[in-house]
């Protein structure tokens, strides 16, 4: 079998050791790239520390608790602050490694060196010892944070990032474990990347074209000392916003993690999602690590170069802008390089389409915590050639009160989670006065915040993982976080939620009907607004967290998707599918520029406002009704969508904008109607009998589309 005629490769002359240490053949390594790299004959190890005086490589056989060898880096193998050594004869598949870093222990100066600890490589592509979710609770750190070596060969075939236009995205935020862990998911590998692959047909049918995965970098799910006060069971750090290995996919999120194949399994997930036309955005946490404050554990960064990796007070304590005990020193030149290396790795090796940056306002802070006007990290990411086509999305606030929505240092490149959108839509929906003008601004793509960048810079959402589910938003006035073990003190108090007349589950048919309507109202406003809509997994099927608005610590039915809701709330799911399909079939809803920047296209303005009377919106503070008409000339076809949102408790009759001859209003959705008449498949909407007037129900949303009048034969 020799179909290929390739001239044999000449062997490299450095593929052999030139000295022996601790029984292993070694030679001076290559400082770049950092991390462990498979090279001819062996593995190249490179690790940096500007304050360490010496470094030892510790090698393990996978699964054994004691090291098989310790190899000190000879002084000649050090270039600047980089320790680099090639070790020959190692089997990348069966070894694990770590480092002992030598240097001063002087916390006041920011140094925490302790050669008694074996540290994980910040560039580790695999992290071993954490393959089984939850099993690490009792294991010593020394046995659970082993660095591993991953091959970088994967047969992507023709796959590449999809590069969908940002304004065309419908983002779906999900938790890899929670999405399929519940037995009701019916997948063969629940709670894993492979399990998610089995649910791709569901995502396709729903119509979303981008998944945003909550943290998938290795983290410690057991990092929570609290217990559930009602059950006594230990709580978790389930969401995973406490990274310990930024280059390593979480082993227990892979069904093959126990075989060390999480890299292949995650790549296979990305490849399958791309085949289905779905982009992959990773929620990345670069504002802090899971090492906690100075009393926290040392896994890697603190032991390797504490004063480089962390923002420290002049006394050597950790600044805590993240609310988790430490703050990554992200505008330090070394850490900036680390973050850039990390994102390039995910973009190139894993074909990731974009990144959502948790508490991104932290990324604009200087090493002393002060705010930078031109943060080098954010500028580097904005202009990096490798990342040029990746979506960059900022959660533009932090835990120390910095709120930069609309003011994030964006370089015309960054999009933002639009917290203003969330708050305004919620307030309008629950009937707050004075919200009509605000609703208009948000539906028009928040030009007050993003005019320069365009509407796609606005990631619109009504709910996110952080906060109430959509169902709970209309079922609870107050958060109910008692099970989180903090006396209901954790979680946001500013929810702008309304329980529709009863706190929690209700058998009252009026309350239930109103809740169903409010959920649909929210979906319609979200999916017709200019900007990029984001849904939270489960909201399309009425998922509840029983009023818990901070379910980060629950690994169980409270936070897992219950797939029986697909049948139980089939009407809602159908409604959500249709609303997504509506957006995807109307270019008028997916502008890449704000309407103020859009030249007239013919029949109507790109966006016009209406009220009880056509062309006469009522902006008064007591008004609770607004209608928007979106228009685009789509290759000669009049693309026209009319959205009337009524937050008043009585229905209202609306005079409709007159359409030219040949076009007629058709009913897409009326949230006051009972299913299945609440929504119609796009393209199959029935015409309105009365083309001059329509009725919007009490606390209802009405959506009409213009279609050509069928020609009579």
């Amino acid at each position: 079998m020799s179909g290929m005629h390739v001239r044999p490769m000449l062997e490299r002359i450095d593929a052999y050791p030139n000295q022996w240490i601790s029984g292993f053949g070694v030679r001076a390594g290559r400082p770049l790239p950092f991390g462990a790299t498979i090279v001819p004959g062996g593995i190249n190890f490179s690790v940096y520390s500007n304050n360490a005086t010496a470094m030892t490589l510790v090698l393990f056989r996978r699964g054994e608790s004691r090291p098989m060898a310790e190899i000190p880096f000879p002084p000649a193998f050090r270039i600047g602050g980089v320790f680099a050594m090639t070790v020959f004869g190692l089997d990348a598949e069966t070894i694990e490694y770590g480092y002992r870093a030598y240097g001063p222990y002087d916390p006041a100066e920011g140094h925490h060196f302790d050669p008694g600890r074996i540290l994980a490589d910040p560039y580790a592509k695999l992290i071993g010892g954490r393959e089984e979710w939850g099993a690490a609770r009792t294991a010593p750190d020394a046995e659970v944070y082993r660095s591993g070596v991953a091959g970088d060969d994967f047969d992507w075939e023709s796959d590449r990032p999809l590069n969908l236009p940002a304004e065309d995205l419908v983002i779906y935020e999900l938790h890899v474990r929670g999405f399929t862990k519940d037995p009701s998911s019916g997948v063969t590998a629940p709670g894993t990347f492979a399990g998610l692959v089995e649910k791709i047909p569901y995502l396709r049918e729903l119509g979303v074209n981008c998944v945003e995965l909550m943290p998938v970098f290795e983290f410690d799910e057991c990092d929570n000392a609290r217990s559930d006060p009602t059950t006594g069971r230990p709580l978790y750090n389930y969401w995973g916003y406490n990274p310990l290995g930024f280059f390593a996919p979480k082993a227990s999120y892979a069904s093959t993690g126990r075989h060390g194949m999480q890299v292949d399994e995650f790549k296979s997930l990305v490849k399958h999602l791309h085949l289905a036309g779905i982009e992959v955005v990773l929620d990345v946490v670069f504002n802090h690590t899971g090492e906690g404050n100075e009393r926290g554990r040392t896994v890697s960064f603190r032991g390797l170069d504490n004063s480089t990796y962390y923002m420290l007070t002049p006394e050597g304590y950790h600044y805590n802008f993240s609310g988790t005990g430490n703050t990554l020193n992200c505008n330090h030149p070394v850490v900036r390089g680390f973050i850039l290396d990390c994102l390039r790795y995910w973009a190139t090796e894993f074909h990731i389409d974009g990144f959502r940056f948790d508490l991104a306002a932290v990324l604009g802070r200087a090493p002393d915590g002060s705010l930078l006007s031109n943060p080098p990290l954010l500028e580097s990411l904005a202009h990096d050639p490798v990342l040029r086509d990746c979506k960059l999305i900022a959660e533009a606030w932090d835990a120390a009160g910095l709120y930069q929505v609309g003011a994030f240092p964006d370089y015309c490149r960054w999009a933002e989670w639009n917290g203003r959108y969330r708050d305004s839509i919620r307030r309008f929906l629950k009937g707050d006065l004075g919200m009509v003008g605000e609703l208009a601004t948000r539906m028009a793509g928040s030009a007050d915040l993003y005019l320069r960048r365009g509407p796609a810079a606005s990631i619109n959402f009504v709910t996110a993982h952080d906060g109430f589910t959509l169902r709970d938003l209309v079922s609870y006035n107050d958060k109910h976080n008692e099970n989180n073990g903090e006396d209901n003190k954790d979680g946001d108090n500013a929810n702008n939620s309304w329980n529709c007349g009863h706190e929690g589950p209700s058998d009252d048919p009026e309350v239930s009907a109103l809740r169903d309507r409010q959920v649909r109202n929210a979906l319609l406003i979200l999916l017709t607004s200019h900007g990029v809509p984001m849904l939270v997994a489960g909201d399309e099927m009425g998922r509840t967290q029983r009023g818990n608005n901070n379910a980060y610590c629950h690994d169980g039915p409270l936070s897992w998707i219950d797939w029986s809701l697909v049948d139980k709330n089939a009407d809602l799911l159908r409604f959500a599918r249709c609303a997504i399909a509506l957006r995807r079939s109307h270019r008028a809803l997916r502008r890449d520029r704000h309407v103020a920047e859009t030249p007239p296209e013919g029949l109507f303005p790109a966006l016009s406002w209406h009220g009880v009377h056509a062309w006469m919106p009522d902006w008064a503070s007591y008004s609770r009704l607004l209608a928007a008409m979106f228009y685009a000339d789509d290759d000669g076809r009049h693309d026209c969508v009319y959205v009337a949102a009524n937050a008043y408790w009585e229905g209202q009759t609306l005079e409709l904008p007159a359409l030219p001859d040949g076009l007629a209003w058709h009913l897409f959705a009326d949230t006051a109607a009972a299913a299945p008449h609440d929504v119609h498949e796009p393209g199959r909407e029935p015409p309105l009998a009365d083309q001059a007037r329509a009725h919007v129900g009490p606390r209802g949303v009405l959506v009409l589309v213009a279609h050509p009048v069928p020609t009579k034969s």
Binding site: M1, S2, G3, M4, D91, A92, E93, T94, G151, D153, D155, T188, A189, T192, F193, A194, A254, S255, T256, H259, G260, M261, D264, E265, K267, S268, K271, H272
Partner: protein
Amino acid sequence: MQLAKYMQGDVTVIALDGRLDSGTAARVQQDLDALIPEGAPVLLDLSRLSYMSSAGLRVLLLVYRQAHDSGARIALAAVPHDAYEIMAATGFLDFFTVADSVTGGVAALTA
């Protein structure tokens, strides 16, 4: 890891017996290279495969690529449960025709 080759009609069947991991992968690849005829259908009988690691997956994919380049059809038969799950989860299974048994594999390759 032991390899055994025999013919079933026009199909070359190669049975793999033992562990396919980084310790055996390079030699197995060499041996397969010598055993697999150019352009003729090949069935890998994995019923006696006791373990397959990441390197093992790569051997199978390399064999697939080489067979594919020479215009030969290739299939896997009797993939043990664990190996099957690993191949499915990592996407390597997508490349192969898979049969429950050698008989089924021969039938698939001669259909």
